[in-house]
Symmetry: C2
Subunit: 338 residues, 2 copies
DNA sequence: CTGTTAGCGCTTTCAT
DNA sequence: ATGAAAGCGCTAACAG
């Protein structure tokens, strides 16, 4: 069978306590002893049983990562970044994918992370007070990604401002009728961007003296399909918009397809700007607001790990990372690559 | 503090052994006793400590999932599907992302899954004998996704045949000079598709009496960028191909962009077919070979979980799932949606 | 600097 | 059907 700490102790001729100390790099172990322990451990190909260690120490060396989806660009990037950072720090990543409204309800009811994580990272979910309470009941530090709340450490972008910059870009090109393709702010899986990006859209219009029209705000559900159908509705309005702001690149792709299928040209007939600057945006020649996903994820993870060691040191803070307007051919004909 | 099994036992007026049995649904517990235990557990909001349970039982109720990337379509789909299936079965998902060649080497050297998973699922990695040995040393059932090996349960598609069908589609349209955009078969992060899809490509050509030309096989590294650059090289060949088979949709997207930027039309000047039928393929009007990712992942997971309960019952088998040719406008002008 | 010892919170015989 | 008791393999005081 596999070696246990006792086997190592016997081979090294020391007690199991010394083995434990030596292997974990604790101070107060003589160098020669340490060497002997390491040699024995190597020879026996020993690794500590994480469960025994966790039971004895109370620390799990595990972080729970909660996401509403795993197969969407933003969340896949987040998981990638967080996994790497955790692995480097010697932590395991326990993945929790909410999946749908039902999965979400069950998740917060059961709280499957109970007693098995040292910390939690939650990505881009609009949480109810009850859900926040459930997280707090875990009694572990919680990091929020893409949202913010007093008492929680968080990393995010300024969605309101970023959306406003996107729409201002369209305004600066002379557009006055600008459609919005957004997410459902009442969806049970609601996540944060839809609310804020819509606010930024309205802010920009009002600041330009344009009153937002409900008919120009349509739902695209953050999918390509949804974006395409939303664009159909926008094109069908009596006095159709000359520009569209989609709250995500994916929805913008759908809109581009709809517009072109309708025989209209981008950006001459209808300009389109997205949000994210995800991997395919350049491919689609799509103007967009770039957001630094890896940076947000890394920032949150780093501070979360720090919080595990020393909780309650200070009021958790929110870090807001900058976004950037990326102008491509879908709004600026002079830049079009096609 | 949080309740332990003793608290529940005291409240229910039984021994901790009975609590353990009742809560796990073991037989030989009187119905009335069971009810009392459940009532007590509910009242105290008790959940068993997984670590104590694992230490005592030796079972971890955890599956390790090893992927070379998490932010690529195929793997994100896999993780999504597997997570859902595991959660439903009461298992945790421990995610291991190899990241790069160095990460991969370290991974198989350290074997961070040791002593912490009941089973392992490996997705689309070409594994060396040493790496297979390392996995076997975990002494846990292993499921392979997208590859196959004697002694391991596996789910995959027939990459050789599927690639052949894709190329035969091009041949049936009259194309004789067909370029290949593939992955690097010598890459340290090598995964399985490149080898097999290239073989299928060559098989199809030979069967049609065409000798494969090395100049028409270029590397696209399974990225959009790489696919675009590969297409540039193909277009620059003296007698340029009239059709291109890309081993993934992503590379096909890059190729489409390159072709259009060069002022050529798809499919009239150059036809393109991809592989995967991932989410954006329809958007790009790309012909492709559809592969059932969720089905493969679910099949492997289901059988893996079964193997945990009853290992060695029978020789592990490989399930091969069917792929499907999806013809769109990038090969068939009559179907073009643009 | 090192060893002894008492748990951590369960599961699992073995009795009864 | 239930309980007593012996671990599972570590960590963390506490001695010395």
């Amino acid at each position: 069978m596999v070696a246990s700490i006792e086997d190592v102790a016997r081979l090294a001729g020391v007690s199991i306590a010394t083995v434990s100390r030596a292997l974990r790099g604790l101070p107060d172990v003589a160098a020669t002893t340490r060497d002997r322990v390491f040699a024995a451990a190597t020879e026996l190909d020993y690794v500590a049983s994480p469960f025994a260690a966790r039971l004895a120490s109370g620390r799990t060396a595990t972080v729970g990562v909660v996401v509403p989806f795993v197969n969407r660009w933003f969340f896949a990037e987040v998981i990638d970044t967080v996994e790497t950072a955790l692995r480097k720090a010697g932590f395991d990543l326990l993945l929790y994918n909410l999946g749908d409204g039902h999965g979400r309800a069950r998740f917060f009811e059961v709280m499957p992370m109970r007693k098995r994580v040292d910390a939690v990272l939650v990505a881009s979910l609009v949480l109810s007070d009850d859900e926040f309470a459930a997280l707090s009941s875990l009694d572990a530090p919680v990091a929020l990604l893409g949202l913010e709340r007093r008492g929680f450490l968080a990393a995010r972008i300024d969605d309101v401002h970023s959306a406003r910059v996107a729409v201002e870009h369209l305004l600066s090109l002379g557009h006055r009728r600008i459609g919005l393709i957004g997410g459902d702010t009442d969806d049970p899986m609601r996540f944060t961007p839809p609310l804020h990006r819509r606010d930024g859209y309205r802010d920009a219009l009002r600041a330009a003296g344009i009153e937002p029209e409900p008919a120009l705000e349509v739902l695209g559900y953050f999918t390509v399909e949804g974006g395409g159908e939303a664009a159909e509705r926008l094109l069908a309005t009596p006095h159709r918009p000359t520009a569209i702001f989609a709250e995500s690149d994916e929805m913008a792709y759908g809109a581009l397809r709809t517009i072109r299928r309708a025989g209209l040209r981008v950006p001459d007939d209808v300009a389109v700007i997205g949000f994210d600057d995800q991997i395919n945006a350049e491919l689609m020649d799509l103007s967009t607001m770039r957001q630094p996903v890896a940076e947000q994820a890394l920032d949150a993870t780093t501070r979360l790990l720090a919080a595990i060691g020393a909780p309650e040191i200070a009021e958790p803070t929110t870090v807001v990372l900058p976004t950037e307007l990326i102008v491509r051919g879908s709004t600026d004909p002079s830049r079009s690559v096609y």
